[in-house]
C-alpha cells in the first residue's frame, strides 16, 4: 500500500498550524484513495511532535533527527525527504507552502522524479491523477492544474483547509541517515525577535502600510497586535522606508498570509500586497482614503484616521476580552 505523506514543519518541536492543516488534508486524501497516511518530521528531535501528529491522524511518523536540521539549508532536507519518500512508497506528498519548502521542492522533484503542484489552495484526486487549484498571475486568477504519474508533490497555502483531529496511536519510525555534508554554509540568521508570532503561520495578522508614518503610529500597530496576540506584517512601502523589517513584508514578493483575521492599518491595497493576503478569512481595513482598493477586498471597512480608530479598537478589544 502506498502512502500519502505529510511534511511537518515543527520549529522547537511544535508543529505549525499550516502543517496540521496539511496533515488533515493528507489524511482525507489517504482515506479517499485507499492509502496509508504518514507524516515526516525533519528536526533535531523529530519524535517530539509525534503525539500531536497522532492526534491529527498520522498513522506513521517518520522522524528524521539530525543536528543538520537546526539550520535552514535545503540539501540535507532534500536528501532526507527523498529517502523517506522511498521508504514510505509515497504516492503523494503534501507540504505547507513555507519559504523553507519553496527552497527544497524543485530539487526534491527532480531527485525523486516527481511531478509538482506548488502553492495550491485546493487539492484532490482526479481520475487517476492529482488535481489542484492554485493562484497565478499575481493572484489575479486561479489555474486548475493536473499532475500525472507518481509520486506527486503538492504544497498548500496556509488557511486552505481547516485542521481537524482524528486521533490514532502513531507508529514512530526513527530514520537515521548519514547526511552528506552540505556545500552551502549558514553564516547567520537575522531573525525576528524570539517570542514573536510567526507571520506566515499566525491566526491573526495586523499589517501596517504607508499610513503608518511615525513612531506613534507604529506603537499603535504594535499595541493592537499585542492585545490580539497577532503577528505584525507590513506593506512593501513601509519595509523600504525601514519602519518595519523585511521579514514583515506581506505580498507577492514577501510572505503570503491567510490568517483567520487580517487587519490592515493604513494599507491602501496595492495589487502586490493584496496578492499576499487576499486568502485571509476575514479582512478588516482601516484607511483614511475611502477609495483605497483595500476596501474592495475588505470584509469590514473603516474609513477613518488611524490615530483615533486604532486606540478605540484597542479599547474595545480589551473590553471584549475582559467581558
Amino acid at each position: 500500500m502506498s502512502t500519502v505523506l505529510s511534511y511537518v514543519a515543527a520549529p522547537e518541536g511544535v508543529p505549525t498550524r499550516a502543517s496540521l492543516e496539511v496533515l488533515t488534508r493528507a489524511r482525507q486524501l489517504a482515506e479517499a484513495g485507499g492509502h496509508r497516511v504518514a507524516a515526516v518530521v525533519l528536526s533535531t528531535d523529530a519524535a517530539a511532535s509525534a503525539d500531536v501528529l497522532g492526534r491529527y491522524g498520522a498513522a506513521t511518523v517518520y522522524a528524521v533527527s539530525d543536528a543538520a536540521f537546526a539550520e535552514p539549508l535545503n540539501a540535507p532536507a532534500v536528501q532526507a525527504l527523498a529517502d523517506v519518500m522511498a521508504r514510505a512508497d509515497a504516492a503523494l506528498v503534501l507540504f505547507p507552502s513555507t519559504e523553507g519548502v519553496k527552497d527544497l521542492l524543485g530539487a526534491l522533484a527532480i531527485r525523486t522524479d516527481a511531478a509538482v503542484l506548488p502553492d495550491v489552495v485546493e487539492v484532490d484526486w482526479v481520475d487517476g491523477g492529482v488535481g489542484a487549484l492554485r493562484p497565478v498571475m499575481a493572484s489575479k486568477f486561479m489555474a486548475r492544474v493536473r499532475a500525472e504519474g507518481s509520486p506527486v508533490l503538492v504544497s498548500m497555502r496556509a488557511g486552505s483547509v481547516e485542521a481537524s483531529e482524528a486521533p490514532v496511536e502513531p507508529t514512530v519510525e526513527n530514520v537515521s541517515l548519514s547526511l552528506d555534508a552540505s556545500a552551502a554554509t549558514l553564516r547567520e540568521i537575522a531573525g525576528a525577535a524570539a517570542g514573536m508570532v510567526d507571520l506566515a503561520d499566525a491566526r491573526i495578522v495586523v499589517a501596517a502600510g504607508r499610513g503608518v508614518k511615525d513612531a506613534a503610529a507604529k506603537a499603535l500597530v504594535e499595541e493592537l497586535a499585542e492585545v490580539l496576540g497577532a503577528a505584525i506584517g507590513a506593506s512593501r512601502a513601509v519595509v523600504e522606508t525601514g519602519v518595519f523589517p523585511a521579514t514583515a513584508q506581506i505580498g507577492q514578493t514577501g510572505k503570503v498570509v491567510s490568517p483567520d483575521l487580517y487587519i490592515g492599518v493604513g494599507i491602501s491595497g496595492a495589487i502586490q500586497h493584496v496578492a499576499g493576503m487576499v486568502g485571509s478569512r476575514t479582512i478588516v481595513a482601516i484607511n483614511q482614503n475611502a477609495d483605497a482598493p483595500i476596501f474592495d477586498v475588505a470584509t469590514y471597512g473603516i474609513v477613518g484616521d488611524l490615530y483615533s480608530v486604532v486606540p478605540a479598537l484597542i479599547a474595545e478589544i480589551k473590553k471584549h476580552k475582559a467581558g
Partner: protein
C-alpha cells in the same frame, strides 16, 4: 566569474487580463521581462562590473520572446541564447532544456518565480539537474573570492548563506531596482549575438493547466460608519458574533 541568467517572457500582470471560456487573454504587446528575472540580470551586471566577468542570458520561449532576450542584452548582458519552444512547458521541462545550455558557468541566476505561473520551481530543478548547491528567494548577493554569499528571506528571518561556486541562486525583486536600458545599451544590444535554436528533446509535461478561473468572489464588504468609538465597537461585535474570529 561567468554568470548565466535564465530569463522568461511573461504577460504584464499589471495590465488588464481577461478571462473567457477558461482561457486568459491579453494584448499581444503587453509582455515583459519577468520582474524577478530582471533583478537577477541586474545582480549579475552589478557583480561583474565590480569583480569582472561576463553575463550570458538564456531564455526558453516562443519566437517573439526574442525581444526579451534583447532587453536583457540592452541592460548590459553580453550574449544571449534563445531556445525556441511554443506551447505550455512545465517547470520540469523548462529546467531540462535549460540544463542542456546552462552548464559550465560559475553562477547561475534565475528569478525566484515567473510572474505568470508563480511556481518557483525551475531554479531548484535546474540546480538539481546540474548537481549544484542552490539557494532560493535571495534578497542580497555578494561575491567573496570564489564564493557567493546570499541573503535570503526565510521563514525565521534573513538567512545569510555562503555557497561555493559553481552554484545557483534564485532572486527576489527586493534585491535591487533593475536598470532601464539606455539608448546606447539598446543600440549595442542589436549587435550582440543571440544564439537562436529550436528546443529539442522537450520532455512530455507531467503537469498541465486545464483552465483558468476568476478568483472566488468575496462577499461584498461592509463599511462601518460613525465616530471612531462606534466604529470600533461595531467591528469588534462583528468579529466576535458574525465572523467568529475573536
Amino acid at each position: 566569474m561567468r554568470f548565466c541568467v535564465c530569463v522568461k517572457q511573461v504577460p504584464d500582470v499589471t495590465a488588464p487580463i481577461q478571462i473567457s471560456g477558461g482561457q486568459l487573454s491579453y494584448d499581444a504587446g503587453r509582455v515583459v521581462l519577468n520582474a524577478y528575472d530582471a533583478s537577477a540580470v541586474e545582480a549579475a551586471l552589478v557583480l561583474t562590473a565590480e569583480h569582472g566577468g561576463e553575463v550570458d542570458v538564456v531564455l526558453v520561449g516562443p519566437e517573439r520572446a526574442a525581444e526579451t532576450v534583447r532587453k536583457a542584452l540592452a541592460m548590459g548582458a553580453d550574449r544571449g541564447t534563445h531556445l525556441v519552444a511554443d506551447g505550455e512547458l512545465d517547470s520540469a521541462a523548462v529546467s531540462s532544456l535549460l540544463a542542456a545550455v546552462a552548464s559550465g558557468y560559475d553562477v547561475i541566476l534565475t528569478g525566484k518565480q515567473a510572474q505568470d505561473s508563480d511556481a518557483g520551481l525551475a531554479g531548484g530543478m535546474l540546480a538539481e539537474r546540474l548537481g549544484l548547491p542552490y539557494v532560493t528567494n535571495a534578497v542580497g548577493l555578494a561575491q567573496e573570492g570564489d564564493a557567493i554569499v546570499v541573503t535570503r528571506l526565510g521563514d525565521a528571518g534573513q538567512e545569510t548563506i555562503a555557497l561555493p561556486t559553481p552554484c545557483l541562486v534564485t532572486c527576489s525583486n527586493d534585491m535591487n531596482d533593475p536598470r532601464i536600458p539606455n539608448l546606447k545599451g539598446i543600440m549595442a544590444a542589436k549587435r550582440k549575438t543571440i544564439d537562436t535554436r529550436p528546443a529539442t528533446d522537450v520532455p512530455a509535461a507531467r503537469v498541465t493547466t486545464l483552465g483558468y478561473e476568476p478568483l472566488p468572489t468575496r462577499a461584498a464588504g461592509r463599511r462601518l460608519d460613525g465616530e471612531p468609538a462606534a466604529q470600533a465597537a461595531e467591528v469588534v461585535r462583528l468579529l466576535a458574533d458574525e465572523a467568529s474570529v475573536l
